[in-house]
Each structure stands twice: as structure tokens, then as C-alpha cells.
Point group: C2
Chain length 521, copies 2
């Protein structure tokens, strides 16, 4: 997949390591040990009865409490479909919600700029990617949080282009060097699209700017019809302001995106103990209710429009009220949301990997490891925020992006699970080895066969003996990630936007990323 | 629980933090958010059909391939029970194995020196602890691996005494400063017992030395009868040398321990791809077969003697053949073994937390996080190697012990899971907050109520904002763990061995830990 990187990777590796790399690279997609879309669902944080009770509570919330702050066009569209508007709240009868869930879009792809990178969320199929609106770039060497820039977004995008276990790129940072909101929206989209061919997610600051960005996408796609055929960008849309209120600006953006053929991520980001109930089950109920209200809205605008069930409840540290994205409570919340999406058979997205740690340290590792593997095992279709994020979404770190690619690799290996077959039970191998053979499995045919098909090898995680590790300078994983980041950023310059397209974008829109930043210096 | 630490902890904490600590400390055991023995089983790495097929394969291995290298007393005991000995291999008919499994000891406690710290493995109840035979102590500041000493074992034990999420203390290191094997066995046992009141696990280098250590235990317990009533030490026994051979020395030790009333951990530590099949299912089959062979052996010696189903298969990095305890494959293997123990309804122990990282870095964090939470969610009763271990069991780190206590805390929170009740569904809280209340849950009665009962707060993991964190010196988690380790080691001197007992031990056995090392300097 990493075509653009191959030159760099080959140059770096020598001798034996290079041979291993080539053998791994030669594997066809369907026998690679891990890949996007592996089915999860081995872990069920909720019992079937628990799922049913949560669904009942959700329907009661929607019918009884409803959602406040609907804009007039939302009220109009939803009441036309059967919602009830009174005392400033839009209420959704049970039958309406159930009908919409039954008829809503499912099994639509999230397209990439090239079909081979398309994703197919749904069922229990698991994908990992970035997301966020961090305002800082974390420098793990100086330990500084500095304001994030447009160049940082472009750099993150081209790193994701070559990090195989990061399957989509939702913009993770806000370009703080672009105070003008039109420039901000246009350039965020441009930097993402120019940096990676993988599916991109972005937000828009106003409906007018969403419209402008749709026009950019028509240019990139080669016309509106081709864009609508394969929309390779989705809109991350906080359509609600929890608890149980619509976001007014986001609603207006939502309408433009849905009508413009852009898949929307219906994102409910309440925080348990602050803007959502402190009880985990209650936070799930509220998040599901808020997202289903959004789903009614979307389907009232354009029946069957593609929407992602984006239950993203966060957690508060109840001692301080501050967010705690790396906690065990968060891991449970996210996994439960992944399970609820499967109950409705809707493509679901939730957030994991949001460590509270400020640096890529051991805290960051365990918080990301626990939350990501649980989200994956639960069969969450789209796991956002899974790479690079720190400080509960306040800082993004390019070095962590590299390490997180390894975290996700191991999580995906766990999602893949254990095959139990006549071959894998290994009775013949045991007989060969123990009764007539050498008494070990080192050179056994089964071992050699499984070496590339069943085992995942990390990029920067180290498995050397202490002695070998000392001889190589006693580096920690951060030091190795710094080197790998530098290697990628100095060698990977994706050139997939055709020059004519790029020229048209630069002519018609205020593109600020300098051409020189986009090629080897 | 941490009685010995309270003074230290209180002195350290100031103002607001101190109030939080007191409120947390005041919670009765049964409403603490996490505790030893929380039931897992939410995650099932194997389908029911997969479990059944593995069991069938295990029975075929035991009946057909059998186990080599049985010592004469083992052959005698097992054949008397119905095993068949031919061509140098002991084979176990299916009915014999099934009978032994049905009659074997289950639901026995693992006693501590005080009853309130007893553990009750079985069912899907989860406990975490240390283990290992590391030969190095890791200094994460100088990044050096130096030979481990008796003092290191004692220090690790007294740290475990006050780290609430580490539930038992199996000796994690070998005292390399004691070359004499009798001194090694005697002092390892002494340092563990003097350092912590929690359940202790040790190994013995010969049956004679196992007998000598039993005599020490009689002294500590106040006589053999009282020892047999509440055996507070178990024997970690590698009774097999995989693949499918008994260990001769370990067998002789096993016989002494079983007859001496000591619970044994029947430990099969094959390495997939080297001494066990490379296929994960096959490695599980071999491990279960090896442990069940040990269970027959134990029950042939003393029917109903307490034994732990210790399936500990490890993983090789198949590129190099070296062990890879931090891999996703390891996480799956361990979790599957936890599930198999539940199938047999035997108290099961497996290993997780064995990172390949040489330092407490981000790699260490994610490898420990993933493997430990999966072992816990699978309902593994006794999760060994879960704290302090590095370099795939070659190095032990006291600073990691502190951080791992937090890893386990979050893993246990995940094991506890999500309560779905009328209250936790939170419909009334939503009505209060959204329809008539303030529009947020910050001061809501439910939030306050759940603050201590449902939420786990870490010891050294940090949840501050980047700004507050910078003001406090921009420390990473390792720096905070170093401070916490120093605080514990300078303040925690457990004095639970009565002076008369200690004097008798020192008079009768070659105890080497200086008295001065055991009190505040």
C-alpha cells in the first residue's frame, strides 16, 4: 500500500531486515495478518438485556424529553416526518425513530481518493483513524505545547499516508496560523487532501464555507457528478450540544453537507459527569438518543443520506470536572457505543486513544492500548482519535502518530483473534516434533508458514535483548519514533493531486500551503 | 488496606488532595470502585465450539502423544491412577483426565499472612500480581540493566504491600548476590514474607531446599498444623519442559510441596514457534495438555491437593526466535488460556504485562495495557507478571511497579464493567437536568454519588491540563513514579513478622537480609 514510501523504506533497511521487509511487502492483502475492516465483536461490554434496556431508555428520552434548540429548518423537516415540536423541544415518537433506523443508509463505503483505500464500515468491521481539533502541537523533546499550524496538518496527513494501520485521516488539529475562518476551512481541507489519499474527515465553520469546500471537492473529483459518485471526504458534525440540544451552526452546516452528497459523522460528544450523566449507562443512553435524533434530521432532509452513528461520549475526572479520555471509564463507554451501533446495524464511530498524558510516555501507552483494543474487540467500525492525540484532545504529537501505528497494529492483531481449525490445533505438528522430530518447532513447516500470515511485527516497538539494545544505544521508543518521523517527513511527498487540479485549486481558492513545502527540499 | 503506608501518604498529600484521599480511604471494601476478585468474562477470545475443539484436541494429545521424561515416582503414582507408561512416555486415557478434572480442588483460597488479604480465585474472578525470575534490575534513569539482588526483592515486596491493585507477590527476581542455592531459596522466601503480608509465590531449586523452606513456613505460621490450615505461600512450579516433557527437578520439588500442603502453580511455559506450536490454538492445546498432565500427577500424589491451572504459553517473534511477551499474539494466547480454565472450572493463572520494552516507555505502556486488560476481561483468575516486568521477563523495574499499579487499576475498572440499572440509565437525571435544571450534570446528586463508587483515580497517571502540568515542571509519568518509589521505599517498613519469629528464623536458617535494611534508616 505504501507505494510512496517504498524508496525511503528500502534505503533505510539493510541486509537481513530488508529481506524480512520485502517478504512482508509481498503478501497479498487477503493474507496479511492485519488489515482494515477485520471483524471484531469478541468483547461485549453490555449483555443483550442491557442493550435492550438502553434502547428502551433511548426511545423514551427521544419521545419524552426530546431535543432543544432546533433551528426552524430542522423543525420543519422533522415535523414533516412525524416529530412533534412543543415548548421549544423537538420530540420523536418511538415509531418514527424505529422507522428511520430501519430505512437509514447502511453498508455505504467511506471512499478514498483511490478505490483501493476505500473503507467499508458496518457489521463489526473495525477501522482506526485520527480525529480531533487540537490547538497544540506537542514537541516531546522540548516538552512544549506550541500552537498547531497548517504545515502540521499537512505533515500529519502525509505520515498517515504511509502508516498502514491508520486507515483514515480526520483532521486532528486546527491551523492556528490561519485566523480567517474561510482560509482555515479551505486550507484544512486542502492540506488533508494533498497529504493523503486515504478517506478524509473535516469540519466546517459555517454553511457558506461548507459550500465553498464542496466546490473545491468538485474540482478535485473532476466535477460534481464524480464527487457524488465517490465522496472521499466526510463532515465531522457536532450536530448536538449535549445534553439534548441541537447545535445551531452545526445544524446549518449539516444541511449543506447532506444535500451536497457528503457523508456526515453525527457526533454527540457529551462528557459524563458534566454534559452527560455520570453513570456510564446513562451517558450511553444520552449519546445514542442524540445521534438518533440527528439521524432523523438527516433522513428528513435527504432520505437514505449516508450518516455515521457517532456516539462519542467522553468522561470527566469527577474530582476536578476536567476531561479524562484515557480512563477505564472511557474505554467502557467507547466500547459500549461500538456495541450499540451494531445493535442498530448502523455504521458506528466512537473515540479511543485519547490519553490524558501530555507526552508519549508510559501513561500514554497504557491509556491508548487499553481504550483502543477494547474499542476494536467490541467491533467499533470507525475508531476516531486513535493516533497522535494527547492531553485529552488538547495536543497532537507527530511522534506519537508513529508509535500509535504500532499500538493499533497490536490491537488489530487482537481483533483478528484466534483461528481454531484442524491445522491450527496442531496435533500433527506436535506428533512430528515430539515423537519423531527435533523436540522444538523452530524450523517446523507450520512455523515458517505462519510467520508472515499470523504474526504482526511492529515498526518502532523494540524486541531486542537488553544486550543488543544497549549496543544500539539504549534508545527508548520515543527516540526511535523521532527518527522514524524525521525519515518519513523528509522522504514522503505524496504527489497524487494532478498539477492541473492543484493549479485550479490555487487559482480559485485561497490555498496557503506553499508549493515548496510539498516537495523534497 | 494500606495501613502501613497511611502515615507516609498523609504526610505527602496537602489540602484539597488530602480531602479526596480521605474520602476514598473511607469507602468500605464492597463499594470501592475496584477490588480483588471482580468477575470478568465479558471478552471471549474463543467461541464455545472453539473451546470444545481445543478440549478434544487436548484429550487426544494426552491419550495419544503423552508426556515424556516422567521420573519414576511420577510414573508410579500416575500409572496407579490409570495412566499408561510405554516407550518412555506417560499417556493419560481420556476418562482418567476427565475424572481428575471433575474431582480436582477448586474454590480454595490463596491465603495471605492476614485473612483480610486472602484471595479467592475461581469462576471468572480476576486478580493481578507479580511473578518472574528476572536476573536484572532496570534503572530507568541510567538506562542500565544491573544484576538483581536480595534487597531488590525485599524492596519490590514492600512496594507491593502498599500498591492496592497488585493483589499477590510472586517473587519477580532472582537474587544474583546469593550464589549458594540454599541461601538463594531461603532468602528469597524470607524477603518476600518480610516485605508483604499478601499471598507469596516462590520457586525452589531442589526438593531438599523445598523441605527446608517448608520448615521456615512452619515457624512463621506457628507450627505445621497452622501452616497447613492457611498456607500463605504457593510454589510456582515449571513441572513441564515443553513440548510435552516433564521437568525432572521440578517434579521432585512438586512432590515435596504437594505433600507439604503448599498450593502449586502448575506452570507450562512453552513458547509458540519454539517450544510450542506457532499457531495460537495449537499453543493453547499444548499448554492445557501439559497442565492437565500435571493435575493428574498432583492428584495421584494427594487427591484434592490445591493446584492452579497455570497455562502460561509465551510467543516468539518468528523473525528472530526471541520471546515477545508484549505482542498481540501474546494477549490472545493469555486470554484464551484464561477462558480454558473457566471451561474446566479450575482456578487459572496466566501471564500478562510482559512487555518487550527495555524501559518504562510508551511501548511498555501499550503492551502492558493491551495484554492486561484482555486477560482481565477474559476472566483470568490470577494474572501473573502483571507488574514491574520488562524485556520479556529479563528485567524488573521498581518504577514500573508503581505505574503498573495504575495500569491494573484501569484494567480492573474495565473488568468491573457497566451496570445497567434503572438508576444508571439516568432518565430521571436527564429530566432534572434538561427540563427543569441547570443544563449540566456537574453538581447533580447522581454525579456526586458516583464520584467515589464508580470512578477510579490513578496514583501517578496525570490528568492535568497542559498549562497546570507545565507549571508543575512538565514531568512525564516516569519522573512521577520515581518520586513515588522513593517515597514508598523511604517510608514503608512492614513490621508484621513478630520479633520472636524473626529471631527464630535468623537463628535456624541462613537469613542474609540485614535487620538494618528493614527499618527506617
Amino acid at each position: 500500500m505504501s507505494v510512496v514510501e517504498e524508496g525511503g523504506a528500502r534505503r533505510r533497511r539493510g541486509g537481513r531486515e530488508s529481506k524480512h521487509a520485502e517478504r512482508a511487502a509481498a503478501l497479498a492483502e487477503d493474507i496479511r495478518p492485519i488489515r482494515p475492516g477485520l471483524p471484531g465483536g469478541w468483547y461485549k461490554p453490555l449483555t443483550d438485556a442491557g442493550v435492550a434496556r438502553i434502547n428502551e431508555a433511548v426511545l423514551e428520552v427521544l419521545e419524552d424529553i426530546g431535543i432543544g434548540q432546533a433551528i426552524p429548518s430542522c423543525v420543519e423537516a422533522c415535523t414533516a416526518l412525524g416529530a412533534v415540536y412543543e415548548n421549544g423541544r423537538l420530540r420523536f415518537p418511538r415509531a418514527l425513530v424505529e422507522d428511520v433506523v430501519a430505512r437509514a443508509a447502511r453498508n455505504f463505503p467511506l471512499c478514498a481518493q483511490v478505490p483501493e483505500l476505500d473503507l467499508h464500515p458496518g457489521g463489526s468491521r473495525v477501522h482506526f483513524g485520527t480525529a480531533g481539533a487540537a490547538v497544540h502541537l506537542v514537541d516531546p523533546v522540548s516538552r512544549e505545547y506550541r500552537e498547531s499550524t497548517l504545515q502540521d496538518i499537512y505533515d500529519a496527513a502525509r505520515m498517515v499516508e504511509v502508516l498502514d494501520n491508520i486507515h483514515f485521516f480526520q483532521r486532528p488539529m486546527v491551523p492556528r496560523d490561519l485566523p480567517d475562518p474561510t482560509e482555515l476551512d479551505v486550507n484544512t481541507l486542502y492540506a488533508c487532501l494533498a497529504g493523503t489519499r486515504k478517506h478524509v474527515g473535516v469540519s466546517f465553520t459555517s454553511p457558506q464555507r461548507a459550500q465553498l469546500c464542496l466546490e473545491m471537492l468538485h474540482v478535485v473529483a473532476g466535477g460534481e457528478a464524480r464527487w457524488r459518485e465517490r465522496p472521499f471526504v466526510s463532515n465531522s458534525n457536532c450536530h448536538v450540544v449535549p445534553p439534548l440540544k441541537f447545535g445551531e451552526d452545526a445544524s446549518a452546516v449539516l444541511e449543506v453537507c447532506v444535500r451536497g452528497g457528503m457523508p456526515v459523522l453525527l457526533l454527540s460528544a457529551g462528557q459524563a459527569g458534566a454534559t452527560a450523566p455520570a453513570a456510564i449507562a446513562g451517558a450511553v443512553v444520552q449519546a445514542v438518543a442524540e445521534v438518533l435524533a440527528g439521524l432523523v434530521y438527516v433522513n428528513a432532509l435527504v432520505p437514505g443520506a449516508p450518516a455515521i452513528f457517532g456516539t462519542w461520549p467522553f468522561v470527566s475526572d469527577l474530582r476536578t470536572g476536567s476531561m479524562s479520555g484515557g480512563s477505564g471509564e472511557q474505554a467502557l463507554l467507547t466500547a459500549a457505543c461500538g456495541q450499540m451501533a451494531q445493535f442498530y446495524d448502523l455504521p458506528g464511530g466512537s473515540a479511543a486513544g485519547m490519553t490524558d498524558a501530555k507526552l508519549p510516555d508510559m501513561q500514554s501507552g497504557f491509556e491508548k492500548g487499553i481504550t483502543e483494543v477494547m474499542a476494536g474487540l467490541a467491533g467499533t467500525n470507525l475508531i476516531y482519535e486513535a493516533a497522535g492525540m494527547h492531553a485529552s484532545l488538547l495536543g497532537f504529537c507527530l511522534e506519537s502518530l508513529v508509535i500509535d501505528n504500532d499500538v493499533i497494529g497490536q490491537a488489530l492483531r487482537c481483533v483478528r483473534g484466534i483461528e481454531v481449525t484442524e491445522d491450527s490445533l496442531s496435533l500433527e505438528a506436535m506428533r512430528r516434533v515430539c515423537l519423531t522430530g527435533p523436540g522444538h518447532y523452530l524450523g517446523d513447516a507450520q512455523t515458517i508458514h505462519l510467520m508472515q500470515r499470523d504474526y504482526v511485527y511492529p515498526r518502532v516497538a523494540d524486541r531486542k535483548s537488553p544486550k543488543e539494545w544497549e549496543e544500539l544505544g539504549s534508545k527508548d521508543v520515543l527516540e526511535r519514533a523521532i527518527e522514524e518521523k524525521q525519515r518519513i517527513l523528509s522522504t514522503v511527498f505524496p504527489g497524487h493531486l494532478p498539477p492541473a487540479v492543484d493549479a485550479e485549486l490555487r487559482a480559485r481558492f485561497p490555498v496557503r500551503l506553499p508549493r515548496e513545502a510539498m516537495r523534497r527540499g
